[in-house]
Symmetry: C2
Subunit: 90 residues, 2 copies
């Protein structure tokens, strides 16, 4: 599940459609902090990232924060179960 | 588990000591956004909050983001399993 600026999007197809619609292939993306913790009951990991984006043609950086909840499968892989993204307006 | 500005703190006693050491009883605290998603495998909830803090004697607001992972007990209560806090520096 993805929550992007408050918009809730569920399922692989809809999330892929949303992410590919964003102009992120042209942006500069700088990560400032990464924090992670074990999410022990699920064998997963919660990850919290903050950073800034610079969009093409824009001088100013946009600050953002994002969290992921990575959950492990029985085969030892991980998938993104939860993804929440917010711009941090000054 | 609490990660506060990159400092990792584990266990009820140490987290309580950290939180009570902060000057949050005197701050103004304004929440801008709250996003939440079910964390289905655990019967829990992930919550993502952004907002601003104003400390006593300071004119400027500090922007922050914070995530919680709430996990349910067999009795139907919730506890905070993961808590990550970051100030968003401009």
């Amino acid at each position: 599940m993805l929550t992007f600026e408050g918009q809730k999007i569920q399922g692989v197809e809809d999330i892929t459609a949303k992410l590919t619609s964003l102009p992120f292939d042209k942006r500069r993306h700088v990560i400032s902090t990464i924090d992670s913790q074990p999410s022990t009951l699920t064998g997963g990991i919660v990850v919290f990232v903050s950073g800034s984006l610079q969009l093409p043609g824009e001088e100013h950086h946009l600050r953002y924060s994002q969290m992921f909840h990575l959950v492990s499968t029985l085969e030892g892989n991980f998938f993104v179960q939860n993804d929440i993204f917010r711009l941090n307006y000054g």
